[in-house]
């Protein structure tokens, strides 16, 4: 049996004005377990707190009930008081007789009556309280960044700058991501490579950063501060540490007809390749699907020309296990497939391209060396039609496309249109738009310049059909302002395809038990206040994996994610919330209901041996809660039919006791 002390606060007249505090402390004296009950003007004052400390000592109290303001106000205060008195801080319960009683009721009698009932409920609960100690877990002071685009690069650099080790896992042979494929960046028009490649070099040279390129994460175990991650290094058939990136192999490779993914298939590369000149690591990779040596053992030219002897046709995939304290997801985005939108004839004509392809067409390192030429016949296009919102903002009942706005298209289309008019003033440039969305610093000014200074023709309307005929693309479109249907003979049509999260994100989310929305974007822990954290502790979000983002936004989120990681890694130990779920293994039957509802993946299963009454043993699968991961919502406790799963601090019998006290 507890020895409970009850302390009723007047809160000046805030409580005492509507509640007869004397009557309350008197009434609660008779409750089971109560050995001391008093009232005082301001319980939260130093004098009030001392009163509690003295009473604990004098009456050997094991539990405290404070009838006062909301626990959201002073629960923490009174827990500290209890600790100062030598009690476990979780032996305190608050009866909220201010916000939920004296302030909302006018009549002294009703107020007093209710305050007594609330006090009784708190006493009933504290009688069942048990001392709780928050768990502690050590922190591995290293971070993993998954994805080596601008988001991952910036996050890694910022974490490394704070002195922590970081590994980047990138599935492509080089880091750089989408930004490396871009030509210029809006709204300042600086060249993407000029601002990105120095950062890539910084990454390569930073002693704290390791790059696992051409690699992927295949397994994640553990929890915040203590992740065990398996990384698969795909065989690139080139010894990374020996290859100098001289490119002799690339030049000599006889298999030169492999579509070049870096240029989105608009030109070819060889079977052994370095994606682009500034690749990091600058190491060759052999494409096993194209290499004759690997396919049928006939060739071996690259090994012959490699002065460093870096080629290794027998290389195997390698699995590496590493420990991390924090994981940052930076898996980025891709344009959606234009398969389902063939009213724009993307599959029928080479001259209908996506905006990302347009980037490559205008990039000096691209397939046309920066000259804007039609992919079909390499002629200069004179009329270009840009179509916005292709596959964005679609209603779900339209059964194709994405429901969200892809956010970046308005600005890059304005950029494309402006740059085209700037470099080739003889071209006519139309942009078909539904809305032009430019809510960024200097964004609208940029768009207006495209219209006013560069003479880009913005048409409010949409393209309905593109008909390739002869050398022309016949564009049928609507101009809603002029209330006309337009027919334009275009040379090039550029589609602003919606963007979607990278396909690797979904299986990764499963491994991380990080939640995703229906579009496969990672969900943030709180949409406003915790935008760079996943609800799963220790997992952070950087860049477009969380939602469509432009470069400035991505970089600032990357920095924010890094600072959250640094905050975590700076700790030696993590102190948990003691009010977590725990499973009574004797009662658990291992049915998995709790695991399915846990938003944090805090529940796992272990095979446990039980001694049976007849002295035999039986192995049973039982749930086990990781207190470092559990956040204490209690969802699992209701999913559990047997009540084997319970929540500390808000246990079934405690809440039931409160119900009984109120209803009695």
């Amino acid at each position: 049996m507890q020895r409970v002390g009850v302390f009723v606060c007047w809160c000046g007249s805030n409580i005492a004005g509507t509640v007869d505090v004397q009557a309350v402390s008197e009434a609660l004296k008779n409750e089971p377990g109560v050995v001391f009950s008093t009232n005082y003007q301001y319980m939260c004052s130093q004098a009030g707190q001392n009163m509690i400390i003295d009473a604990v000592k004098e009456h050997n109290l094991t539990g405290i009930v404070v009838c006062s303001c909301s626990p959201r106000m002073h629960e923490a205060t009174f827990r500290k008081t209890a600790a100062a008195a030598g009690l476990n801080p979780y032996m305190v319960e608050i009866a909220n007789i201010r916000e939920q009683c004296s302030w909302v009721h006018k009549d002294m009698m009703t107020g007093t009556e209710k305050a007594i009932i609330l006090g009784k409920a708190a006493v009933a609960k504290v009688n069942l309280n048990t001392p709780l100690t928050p768990g502690e877990s050590p922190v591995t002071k290293r971070a993993l960044v998954i994805g080596g685009g601008i988001a991952g690069i910036q996050t890694a650099l910022d974490i490394a700058d704070a002195g922590f080790e970081v590994d980047i896992v990138e599935k492509k042979p080089t880091i750089g991501g989408k930004m490396a494929q871009l030509d210029k960046t809006f709204p300042t028009l600086d060249c993407a490579a000029c601002i990105l490649t120095p950062k890539m070099v910084d990454v390569a040279q930073n002693e704290k950063i390791r790059i696992f390129s051409y690699s992927e994460v295949t397994d994640v175990k553990g929890f915040v501060g203590n992740f065990d991650v398996t990384i698969k290094k795909n065989a690139r058939f080139v010894k990374e540490d020996i290859c100098t990136g001289c490119g002799a192999c690339v030049e000599k490779c006889p298999m030169k007809k492999v579509p070049n993914e870096f240029n989105l298939g608009m030109d070819n590369r060889s079977a052994i390749y370095i994606p682009f000149a500034q690749a990091v690591p600058k190491v060759a990779t052999i494409d096993p699907n194209a290499c004759n040596m690997l396919k049928n053992g006939k060739c071996g030219l690259c090994a012959k020309v490699c002065a460093a002897g870096a080629i290794d046709y027998t290389q195997k995939d390698e699995y590496i296990e590493e420990k991390y304290g924090a994981i940052v997801v930076a898996t980025g985005f891709n344009p959606i497939s234009m398969e389902k939108f063939d009213e724009f004839a993307y599959n029928q004509s080479k001259d209908v391209i996506t905006s990302l392809e347009f980037e490559r067409l205008t990039n000096a390192a691209g397939p046309t060396a920066g000259k804007l030429l039609r992919p079909s016949d390499h002629e200069h296009p004179h009329t270009i039609v840009f179509v916005q919102c292709v596959g964005s903002r679609c209603d779900s009942c339209a059964e194709k496309g994405k429901e969200y706005c892809s956010k970046i298209c308005c600005m890059y289309t304005a950029k494309h249109a402006m740059l085209t008019r700037d470099k080739y003033p003889d071209t006519e440039v139309y942009v078909f738009y539904i809305d032009v969305r430019t809510p960024g610093k200097n964004f609208d000014e940029f768009y207006r310049r495209a219209v006013e200074e560069y003479g880009v023709k913005y048409v409010k309307g949409m393209v309905g059909k593109v008909t390739p005929e002869g050398k022309k693309l016949k564009v049928q479109a609507s101009d809603l302002i002029a209330n006309k249907q337009l027919h334009i003979d275009a040379d090039l049509v550029v589609l602003a395809a919606a963007i979607e999260p990278d396909q690797t994100a979904r299986p990764l989310a499963t491994m991380l038990t990080a939640s995703m929305d229906t579009n496969d974007f990672f969900t943030e822990a709180h949409p406003k206040l915790r935008p760079v954290e996943s609800p799963t502790a220790g997992v952070f979000l950087s860049g477009a994996c969380q939602g469509p983002k432009d470069i400035p936004e991505t970089v600032s989120q990357a920095g924010a994610a890094a600072s959250k990681v640094i905050g975590l890694l700076a700790k030696d130990k993590l102190t948990g919330n003691p009010c977590v779920a725990s499973s009574n293994e004797l009662m658990c039957n291992g049915c998995s209901s709790c695991e399915r509802v846990c938003p944090y993946g805090a529940i796992t299963y272990v095979d446990k041996e039980f001694r049976m009454p007849d002295r035999t043993t039986k192995v049973r699968r039982v749930a086990s809660v990781n207190p470092a991961v559990c956040q204490g919502c209690g969802c699992c406790t209701v999913a559990c039919p047997s009540g084997a799963m319970d929540l500390r601090g808000f246990a079934n019998n405690q809440i039931m006791a409160e119900v009984d006290a109120i209803c009695k």
């Binding site: 398969e339 389902k340 939108f341 063939d342 009213e343 004839a345 599959n347 029928q348 059964e399 059909k465 593109v466 008909t467 390739p468 005929e469 002869g470 016949k474």
Partner: protein, 263 residues
């Protein structure tokens, strides 16, 4: 393999070719078309209004008969296919409409869209298989550049029709290839020829049809095939110097059964 067959009014009349070649070809492919007894005209167009009942009853009758025979209902004419398929979809998904129809027809066992509506082209693709068609070809049409004209009704609304990608269909091109010819892909193959507007505004039908034919020709077509008598009429009437034939005729020719038909 036996299937129920709904020919439609035009196929018994102005478009006999479409019908007879369909029969012969099916036979050659081992499919027996069993004509629905006492079928009635489908009405030519599906009225999308939810409170329109009477004009859809003839389709429901045909559907019900096929369902009772537990056979798929095969159609050839694009318009009939569109009307019957959309009606079936409405019977499956619009309860109020279906209830009205069943009450009106005094159906003892209510019809709820159990029948499967299959276009002849789908039958070739999904039930016979284009590979099997290819094997049966005796007069391969090698070297012929043929453009498929889908028009609107075969493909749209794709949510209901479910035949093929509405913007980039391949079913007819695959058939052309199976018959040994070279399919010609052109963008206007799924744009409207003008349809029944030919009655009232022949100019509009002419303009639309012309654009289709010109686009096909520009892509190198020497012949156009279609599944719709009205499409064929519009394309032919509005001045084309390349032949427009029903796909069944082409099929019969390749399968070597065209001549028996004429005989």
């Amino acid at each position: 393999m036996k299937v129920s067959y709904f020919p439609g009014c035009t196929l018994k009349n102005k478009a006999k070719d479409l019908d007879t070649y369909a029969y012969k070809s099916a036979e050659a492919l081992g499919v027996t078309l069993e004509e629905i007894e006492n079928w009635q005209c489908c009405g030519g167009v599906f009225t999308t209004a939810k409170n329109e009942v009477a004009t859809k009853l003839s389709s429901v009758r045909a559907l019900k008969e096929a369902a009772e025979k537990e056979q798929p209902l095969v159609t050839v004419c694009s318009a009939c296919h569109n009307v019957i398929k959309q009606t079936n979809h409405a019977m499956q998904n619009e309860k109020e409409f279906a209830d009205k129809v069943n009450r009106y027809m005094a159906n003892e066992t209510p019809y709820a869209g159990e029948a499967e509506v299959v276009h002849y082209l789908e039958m070739l693709r999904d039930m016979v298989g284009f590979d099997a068609v290819k094997e049966k070809v005796v007069n391969a049409l090698t070297g012929k550049k043929i453009a498929a004209y889908y028009g609107c009704l075969l493909l749209r609304p794709s949510k209901v029709m479910q035949m093929d990608d509405a913007e980039n269909p391949t079913i007819m091109e695959d058939l052309i290839a199976a018959l040994g010819a070279t399919p010609v892909v052109y963008a206007k193959r799924n744009e409207c020829c003008g349809g029944y507007i030919a009655m009232e505004s022949p100019e509009l039908a002419k303009k639309n049809s012309n654009e289709v034919v010109e686009n096909a020709k520009a892509a190198g077509a020497e012949m156009i095939i279609t599944a719709c008598p009205l499409c064929r009429y519009n394309l032919m009437k509005n001045g084309t110097d390349i032949p427009v034939v029903y796909f069944t005729e082409l099929l019969a020719e390749a399968l070597g059964v065209k001549e028996d038909t004429n005989a």
